[in-house]
């Protein structure tokens, strides 16, 4: 019995240290659903950004930027920006930036069109990508 009680307590007590205040950046009163094609990915820190082109109901198009996590942990699992090629159909649900003049949102859920999540988690490293140069392996160029 003691253990049954201890589990939620321990898990509930896990500290969360995020890079920034999500609530300060995104507006809880501006939910968005974005459906469209990937046109660009910024595989950068502190957050990766996925650019997605959305067709509005009037037929015009606009490009939204969607915030993700740090790409480094994905690189260790072999996922690069090439893993999400241009033209990939994705669906994003999240909240728009508090500054409504910019088309940016958090990627609360980013899935393929059929609902499969992007970048499934892993409990350990996979095969690093061939073209990624780890800092601890970087060598000066050959003369």
């Amino acid at each position: 019995m003691k253990m049954l009680l201890a589990i939620p307590v321990l898990l509930g007590g896990l500290p969360l240290a995020a890079h920034h205040a999500f609530g300060g950046e995104f507006d809880a009163n501006r939910p968005v659903l974005l459906r469209g094609k990937v046109v660009k990915t910024e595989w950068v820190n502190p957050h990766a950004w996925i650019h997605v082109e959305v067709t509005k109901t009037d037929g015009t198009k606009e490009v939204w930027m969607v915030e993700g996590g740090s790409p480094n942990s994905l690189l260790r699992r072999g996922l690069t920006k090439a893993s999400l090629p241009e033209g990939t159909e994705i669906v994003v649900d999240g909240y728009q930036a508090r500054d409504h003049t910019v088309l940016r949102a958090n990627g609360r859920n980013v899935t393929f069109a059929d609902g499969r999540k992007l970048f499934l988690g892993s409990s350990g490293p996979g095969e690093p990508p061939k073209d990624a140069v780890p800092t601890d392996q970087a060598k000066p160029p050959a003369r």
Partner: protein, 345 residues
């Protein structure tokens, strides 16, 4: 085998053969242990012990908790509806850092999957002293100091309603934002000292060692600390973001003594008089034991300590370049200006 003496001797030999040999670490040319390598600090063990937990988790308890964490992860990875609607207006109810708007797919995360093991025991907290596994309460003057740092006069009151739960004035200029958000130091004290695990991702640290200096690279936000061996601390007038670290060997343990912090770091509410002593010991071919003691008479009645294992990893550290695309900081500050304008209407 009737002779009791022979039985005794054979038993003694058997025991000797089974007793683990004391670990002898590989050594550098100067004779000191070689601590070099890349270490993954990710762990499920929190800094402070949750209420009701014992200091040491039984094998069964740990296995159950580790399985629960794995299941939570699998749940996060599950497919959802492709034709789903937008999340609810007014927020999705997510708490803490996710600030009522949620974070991002669990796929981005790389937290620990196991509890840290020290002396063969699964530990429920990093803090070991005080024995309750909790960071001691700050002195009254330290609590007053913390409040005065937060409650600065501000021209707007709107921010007190912020789901990010930040007090008024927190968004008035970039220098009031947390150091991690500004890409200055790893958030959650990942760069340290003391170096603590992050429960999101990027927990890799690399140690490079020479006779005269030990370098500790933290992947998150790309901080490097250089420990000057057998050196004296810098004059008190010279202050550094991660403090001034000097090292010495006590037997096979590297002891790193850090003072001369700035008043900006404020680890758990400390002042610039924070004094951190870290101890690095290679306990087996794949593990460093990391221990630290925190002292700041302006903040706590007495020093407190923690310890956890740094397992070696074959994974690679990647460049972080945190300023490269820190759109988040400008979004956060600009968002606050938008809210101020809205409040005037």
């Amino acid at each position: 085998m009737r002779n009791p003496f022979i039985v005794f001797v054979l038993a003694a030999i058997t025991v000797a053969a089974q007793a683990p040999k004391p670990y002898t670490p590989p050594r550098m040319p100067d004779g000191h242990p070689d601590l070099q390598g890349t270490y993954d600090l990710a762990t499920l063990t929190p800094l402070e012990r949750p209420a009701g937990a014992s200091a040491v988790l039984s094998k069964e308890e740990a296995a159950k908790l580790e399985r629960a964490a794995a299941v939570a992860r699998e749940e996060g990875d599950k497919s959802i509806k492709g034709d789903r609607p937008a999340p609810p207006k007014g927020g999705d109810g997510s708490r803490g850092a996710a600030g009522n708007v949620g974070g991002y797919n669990t796929g981005w995360l790389d937290p620990g999957s196991t509890y840290t093991v020290v002396d063969g025991q699964k530990r429920s907290s990093i803090v070991i002293d005080p024995p309750n596994g909790r960071v001691p309460a700050a002195k009254p003057e330290a609590r007053r100091r913390a409040l005065s740092l937060i409650a600065r006069p501000t021209s707007d009151a709107q921010e007190s309603n912020d789901p990010g739960l930040e007090p008024p004035g927190s968004y008035d200029d970039p220098e009031r934002r947390p150091l991690g958000e500004r890409c200055l130091l790893g958030f959650g004290s990942t760069s340290g000292p003391p170096a603590l695990p992050d429960y999101f991702y990027n927990n890799l640290h690399q140690i490079v060692q020479t006779r005269d200096a030990v370098m500790i690279l933290t992947e998150m936000v790309h901080d490097v600390r250089v420990v000057r061996m057998n050196a004296r601390h810098l004059p008190k007038t010279i202050r550094k973001w991660m403090g001034d670290s000097v090292g010495r060997w006590e037997g096979d343990t590297l002891v790193v003594d850090t003072t001369n912090f700035t008043d900006k770091t404020r680890f758990h509410g400390s002042t610039e008089n924070l004094h951190v002593v870290e101890r690095f010991t290679r306990v087996d071919p794949k593990t460093l034991l990391y221990r630290f003691t925190i002292d700041d008479p302006d903040t706590w009645e007495k020093p407190w300590s923690g310890e956890y294992a740094w397992p070696a990893t074959d994974s690679h550290i990647y460049e972080y370049a945190c300023h490269e695309a820190n759109y988040a900081l400008s979004d956060i500050l600009h968002g606050a200006r938008v809210r101020e304008e809205e409040a005037k209407k």
